[in-house]
Every structure is written in C-alpha cells, then in structure tokens.
Symmetry: C2
Subunit: 377 residues, 2 copies
Amino acid sequence: GKENGGGVTRNLPSDAVINLDHGDPTMYEPFWRKLGDKCTIVIKGYEHLSYFSSNKNPCWFLEPKLEDSIRSLHGAVGNAETDGYTIVVGTGSSQLLQSVLYAVSPPDQPNPMNVVSAAPYYSCYPETADIVRSGVYKWAGDAHGFDKDGPYIEFVTSPNNPNGVIRGPVVNRDGGIVVHDLAYYWPQYTPITSSLDFDIMLFTASKCTGHAGSRIGWALVKDKDIAKRMVNFMTVTSIGVSKESQLRVAKILQVVADGCKRFGSPDGDNLFEFGRNMMAKRWEILRETVKKTQMFTLPKYPLQHCNYFGDLTQAHPGFAWIKCNDGMEDCEEVFKGSKILVRSGRRFGSDPGYARVSMMSKDDEFNGFIDRLSSMI
Amino acid sequence: GKENGGGVTRNLPSDAVINLDHGDPTMYEPFWRKLGDKCTIVIKGYEHLSYFSSNKNPCWFLEPKLEDSIRSLHGAVGNAETDGYTIVVGTGSSQLLQSVLYAVSPPDQPNPMNVVSAAPYYSCYPETADIVRSGVYKWAGDAHGFDKDGPYIEFVTSPNNPNGVIRGPVVNRDGGIVVHDLAYYWPQYTPITSSLDFDIMLFTASKCTGHAGSRIGWALVKDKDIAKRMVNFMTVTSIGVSKESQLRVAKILQVVADGCKRFGSPDGDNLFEFGRNMMAKRWEILRETVKKTQMFTLPKYPLQHCNYFGDLTQAHPGFAWIKCNDGMEDCEEVFKGSKILVRSGRRFGSDPGYARVSMMSKDDEFNGFIDRLSSMI
C-alpha cells in the first residue's frame, strides 16, 4: 500500500461525515512536512508592529519580500506576466474580489454595475457581490443570459471552479470589464499553455501551496488607477493585510519558486511535481471507481502541452464536477446518503443533477470518499 | 537624558516630515524588545494549512488559543466581562465594524439603517458605512443632530477617538442599536472604572499592545444570532482571519495578561505600567510645551480611580485633540507649516480649528514634534 493517495490508508470511522463541500486544500501537508524547517518562520515580539510596510509600491501595506516572491514564482512557473503590473495583496482572494468590484465601478453612477459570470460559476460570486446590497455593483447572474445594456463586470474563472474548464469571457461587449480569477492556474491542476497578461488577474496562496489559513491573495493589475482604488478599499475595510501571513507566504512562495525548476529530484522539493502526481493518482482512482459504479459522469479534459512540465498532460482539477446519471435528480442528496458533504450544482447557477466534490482533502478523507463511492454500486 | 519619552533623543533631520496623522502605535517597540524571546513565535511550513480552526465557538475560524488569551486578558485587566459572550475575531476592528453594520441591519428592509456617532467621531466611520453605498445601512452623521424616525445604529467610542473622552450613547431612542468601540479602553490610556458588559464591544490588538501590523480585532457579542451573522459576513468577505496573526497575538496577549498582575517589578514586564508611564511623560511634556507657546489648547481630563492600577489617575489618550487659539482657523495647516502631518478636525465632523495628533509614535518622532512645537513660539 502506498501512503499518499494510494487508496489504501483507512483511518476514518465508517459513520464519520466526510466534508468535501469546501475546497480546503489540506492535501499538501505531507509535502510541507517533508521540507522540514525550510519554510519555518520566526517572528519576534517587537517586529512588524506598524501598519505600514516600507516599500515603493502603491500598495502601502504590501511586504516587499512578498512582492519579490510573487514575481519570482510567476516567472519560474511561466503562468502570468508581472512586468508592468502593480501587485495588490488581499486577505484571501475573497477580499480582492470585492475590492475589484469597488475599484472598477464608477462611484457616482445612478444604477449599480451588473456583475456576471458564466454558469456554472464559483458559488461565492453572487453573495460577494450582494452581501451588503451595494448601490455601486450588483450580481446579475449567468453571463450566458446577460442582455442588459451598459457597462458590466464579468468574472472569468480559469480553470473554472467548479468544473476545471479553461474559459474566456462570454459577453464580449463594449464597456465590459473582465476580471480573471486564476486561483487554479497552477501546474498541478492544469496544463500551463501560456503566460497570461490580462488586465486584472487574481491569485491566492490557498490553492497554489495549500496555505489557506494564511488568507493571502494577490492581484496583478495593469491600470495604476484601478490598483490605487483597490488599495483604498483595503485601507478602509481592513487597514491592510496581516504582516505575519505576508512574511510566511513570502518565504513559502520563494521556496516553491526555487524548488520548481528541479524535476525528478530525489529531494522531492518540487511542489508542482508532488501536486500533479497526487492529483493525477486521485483522478485515476476516481475515474476507475466512477466507471465501476455506472451511476455518475465525470468531465473529460483534453491533452495539452504544458509549458511548465514540457509534456502533454490533461487537467486534474481541484474539484470533481460530478453529474448523477438518469433518475437521480439531486446529486448532493445522493452523496449525503453516504454521509459525504458536497456542494449542489444549484449553488453554481447550474443543475442539482450536478455536485462539486473537493479533490484536495487529506488522504484519509479522499480514501473514505472512494470507499463509500465504491459501495454505492 | 532618558531614552524613552524623555524628550532628549534627536534622530530626525530638521526638515523631515513627521507623520502624526495616523495612530500608528509604534511607541511600544522598546517594551517588546526588552521582553526578548518571550513573545517569539515559530511556525513550521506544514502547520495551520486549513481554513478551519478546531473549536466549538460559532466563530469557526477563531483559534482557541486566541479565545483563551482574550478572556484571560480582560479578566486580568478588569475592563470587560467575557462570560456569556461569543468572541468574533476580525481583520482589525475595521472589518468588525462592517460586520456589525451588516449583522444588526435587517437584510430585507426597504431603506438603509441610519448609522450615527456623536461628533467629534472617529474619522473612518463615514467611509466604513458608505464605501460601497450599501442599501442595508448608511452614514447619517453626527448623533447629536439625529432626528430621523425608525431604527438606527450608534457607534459609541469610549474613550473617544479623537478626544479621549469617556462617552455613552446620545440618541437613546427605541429601536437603537448601540455598538461600543472600546479600542482605547486599556489602562495606559484611561482609568479603568468598571468592567463593561455592553451588548456589542469591539477591541483591537493594535492599540492594546501596539501590534497593528497583525490586523487582529475582536468583538464580544452577547446575542448569539448577531454573532452568527458577523461570522457570516467574515466568511463571505475574507473566509476567516489570518491564522499566523491569531497565533502570534494569542501569545502576546497571554504574556501581557500574565505580566499585568505584577506592579513595580524590576523586570518591567507589565505593558500597562510601561505604557502609562510613557504616555504620562509625553502628556506632561506636551502640556508644558503647549503652555509655553500659548497658541493651543488641550483637553483636560478628570482624576478618577482606576480599578486596575488602584490609584487616582487621569487619562493619557492615544491622541492629542488640539485646538488652535483665536486667529488660526485651520489647525491642520498650522502644523503642516512645521512639516507635521496631523488630521484636521473637519475629518471628525468637527471644526477645522481642531486637529488630532498621534501620541503613540516612536520617541524620535514625538521628540521632533515637541521640538517643532517649541519653536513655533
């Protein structure tokens, strides 16, 4: 039996609830344990007291070390351009999403800007846009059905959450502002086919390295005025972002950047290699199991050349977007019957015949999920 | 010459801008240096990956150690009750302010709830309430002039930012929800005259210990449903709060709580003693200097019994609320003439003849401020 993702370890009681509703990326823990003290941070009581970080970035609360690591990592992976971009750090990409909505919406217009995304869309977009019923922007639903006049904001999630598909904007009209949410555009999840250079690109440490508890996201922003307005939003809503988290993530991203140019190293310090191997194994097991049950359908992903790995590969998304076959109308309920919590397709503006299942859990949860799936036959 | 607050150290070039606009509480640095490694935290790369903290608190992202330290510190100081309260952690008290507005406003009402505070009020309240033009709540200005019908929210800042005065609600009508912002209700700033037990109380590590860069605030909330709605706001807007900051502040607050029951100790590990001595000295120097210049007026504070120190003491607020005497209409401009940045009374809903000056800076900035004030004669 293999230790990681081999489908053999069985630690969960058979009646335990397995929560695969959230995308809590705990699967990277064994990798970080293996690295030992390489990413340990030590902060003394008298350090980093101030609100301010000493830097020349318009983002006055961004730690210079984090900025360096972010630029260095994107350069090493080749997934996004950073030259000429302003970096804005946020408390997770959740805070950045709101700050973008604020930053690109004219403050003085009579009607709120419409915010759309193509279904199935990330389930948090509607509540992010509508939580305090802003008069500046409002959720307007599925981008496919959007037919209102005037300016609008389109969130393009690529690879898409929930279904892992590479996407572009669908509205494509004048006055549209496109925000690229690239949380999963990393080599363990999807082939890196080009170094992206969109106007507004959002990333997060959570999905890249698994450090979700640190709540560090960053935006690469071309337009300096938009970046400034985002910084203003962050200033008013949280007077900046945790220095401790920034410094820790700075160290971790630098270790990832340094390790990711070595392939097949016996040290195994390449996060993306570790991640892709694990995800590929999990997807293989899931596909085999689903095939046996004949109850579900999984998406298929094309083989593409990954510039980072230098080989032909398919996507291994962080979530499985599972369709229940005929006769089962509520996919979430089907899983609940086996004490597996998943997120209904309904939440993504889609069909309850679909459900989103996290593939990023710890081994024992993933293995428990596979076990129960097998016994559904 | 004394090293701290003695008004002797002179490190700033005479033409340097001294920024006392923000309340950046860097004056505590010497205290934390003296404690050496007592507050050092070490976090390994594999620790605290998850979004979740394992606890039974309705605030699912609150680290149990932080909850323990907060309860222990309030108990040791005697400034607030915690029994029966739910603790909600936020990214600074800024995020908590917004989450409170969201939590106490009915989501489905046709008109936004009015948000008021008595002038001079904390300059960030108006923009916190209005930044995205919420349809659920909106800034309605000075509580003294508030005469609209219906429910409302009143922020009561005590001691008050900018002027250090102890305050209570001023509207006092049915349907009012009072939020107590107690950022400065700590013994270094003001006599602790009772252990408060209001329905909603906000605190922040920034002003208590000086760790502003950590962005940790907390709310003590009596009503469980309001606490749950606050947690929901935090979930949508940032999926929780930095684990690193929480763990560091947990350690620091515990060290403060442990040290604060020893008075006059040669170790000098009582933060509040250190803080009050420093603030008292600075206020004494400021009052002497202002007396000499005859250009300004400072508020006076009553002598009161402090339950924590067990003596009669007056307030030594974190800000000096300075009135320019007759003939000088714009107090902010007067200071700008000496390259001192302060915040105009206008920003606090008050008179431009007033300005708020931070008393919490590093020694060299405070000393530079006093120097320039002296030379204004």
